[in-house]
């Protein structure tokens, strides 16, 4: 079996978010880039499966749509244990555009399972996996919190309201994974880091594709306001604000 993990290049989660150009662009000065945490967990799970199923999984590939600057992130994926990396040389315009590029790369190869993180920590689109599935006309299962392979049996656990469903499907399929798919992301070993530069790394030019949406401006949240005091004689107000203002309940 061949597995493809779609990797997004995102700012390190401790980055202080700032915008430039009159709030039209994300300010990437001094930003450390990392593998999108959900994609990293997806890759970790793929590696665990490769190790535990002794020969069933012959190759794990990682792919990213991005400019040359994303190559260190892809190499980190190789260091962690992926077998090959593919970069589609284009700026990741919007999710539709990205999915169109990924679909083209998938069509050129035969992958049995494609893994995508459910969202990326920068734009939180939650769309690439689903869009890619439709471009390819593959079945997709989303909110996947466990993926198990035993012999010929592939079991996918997805979260639903109030519980989980254990699913099966046919190959090829796309699993859109969330927290729980692996416990901790894998740390690359010295050997892995050493081998990363030697593993196959292909760069492809993008196909013609559109983007359907555009981020036109950004805003930072307002600074935290002072504590809003609620009259102890009127506790109902607390329920109201939690529902209407905070939108938590």
């Amino acid at each position: 079996m061949k597995i493809l993990v779609c990797i997004s290049n995102v700012p390190d989660t401790t980055t202080r978010i700032r915008f430039t150009d009159d709030n039209k662009l994300f300010d990437s000065t001094g930003v450390q880039w990392i593998i999108n945490p959900w994609d990293e967990l997806a890759l970790t799970r793929a590696l665990e499966l490769k190790e535990s199923t002794n020969g069933t999984i012959e190759k794990i590939s990682v792919i990213n749509v991005g400019p040359k600057e994303t190559e260190p992130t892809l190499r980190k994926a190789l260091a962690i244990g992926a077998d090959e990396a593919i970069r589609i040389n284009a700026l990741p315009e919007d999710t539709y555009f990205i999915a169109a590029q990924l679909a083209e790369a998938v069509r050129k190869n035969n992958y049995d399972i494609i893994l995508c993180g459910i969202e990326s920590s920068d734009y939180n689109g939650s769309a690439v996996g689903g869009m890619l599935s439709e471009f390819l006309d593959f079945p997709s299962i989303s909110s996947v919190s466990a993926l198990n392979i035993e012999g010929n049996n592939i079991e996918i656990k997805r979260e639903i309201d109030g519980g989980y469903e254990i699913m099966t499907t046919s190959l090829p399929f796309i699993a859109i994974v969330q927290k729980g798919i692996a416990i901790e992301p894998r740390i690359p070993s010295m050997r892995g880091i050493m081998m990363a530069r030697k593993k196959p790394f292909a760069v492809f030019e993008p196909i013609e594709a559109e983007s359907l949406t555009e981020h036109v401006s950004y805003e930072l949240p307002k600074p935290k306001a002072a504590c809003k005091m609620i009259d102890p004689e009127n506790i109902k107000e607390l329920v109201d604000v939690l529902h209407n203002e905070a939108k938590i309940i």
């Binding site: 439709e134 609620i230 009259d231 607390l238 939690l242």
Partner: protein, 324 residues
Amino acid sequence: MSVLVYTENWDGKFKKLTFELISYANEIAKKLETNVIALSIGNVNEGELIKLGNYGAERIISVQDERLIKVDNQAYCSVITQVAEKENPEIIVFSNNFSGKAIAPRVSVKLKAGLGSGVIALPSNYEPFTVRKKVFSGNAFSNIVINTPVKILSLAQNSFEIIETENKGSIENFNAELKDVDIKTEAKDIQKITGKIILTDAEIVVSGGRGMKGPENWGPIEELAELLGAATACSRPVSDEGWRPHHEHTGQTGKIIAPNLYIACGISGAIQHLAGVSSSKYIVAINKDNEAPIFEAADYGIIGDVHKVLPEFISALKEFKSED
């Protein structure tokens, strides 16, 4: 040119979020001077379907098909697009919940309609069509323009209120073209979530401090937690005294958590405790000392006796939930 809303059902029933979604769609429909069409897939009876009318759905299209009782993303996408191709909506609305996240992107590709996912409000502009969402994991907002004639929106949960209308909806059936082979996934088993919520995973946490006065007073905290589907936590002196187990201790030398809501009951708010909870999205503090430092960190505060406030909060909550 209508506004089509995919209304998911759970065992044949709708939830509050469904009606919020219809209300949202209705406001957009009013702006566009058009109507709302609700689309339900699965076995939902007329008594339930008709409720959608109360929130503004003029037409309620129901696709009843045994094969579609369980959500198969590819098949649902196919059905929704068949209805969309027939009805030509300008806007298609989903909830940004489990199924919305799975299906909306597929529909976006099938119809080549731009997707604004996780939007938090009504469109701010219609020319160009602009919507707002949270980005950078909640650390900023973005305004997105959707450039296609048909737009798909998935609404972030808890973003919009229910607005009741005088409207009455009419129900119609739709026979989707669906071959058995079009459904490629199968649910073999279901596991319900049971048992206590893990503190570090919890979205809501109810916590108690020394102001609770003793372990025998923890009943209301546990009841509140159960009501909210929350985990319970405590401050360090409480776990030191043995009132609560060590794994509940949140703070600098205990667990560091970041739930959506942290309710601090009888906790003074020493910095060692705050270090463990300051990343919470919202903090509610209940303390009878108006100078307690917790109020500097909290978003909402009640100065009062926690033994009196908690039970009142619990009954106000129960009343609220019964309106669900």
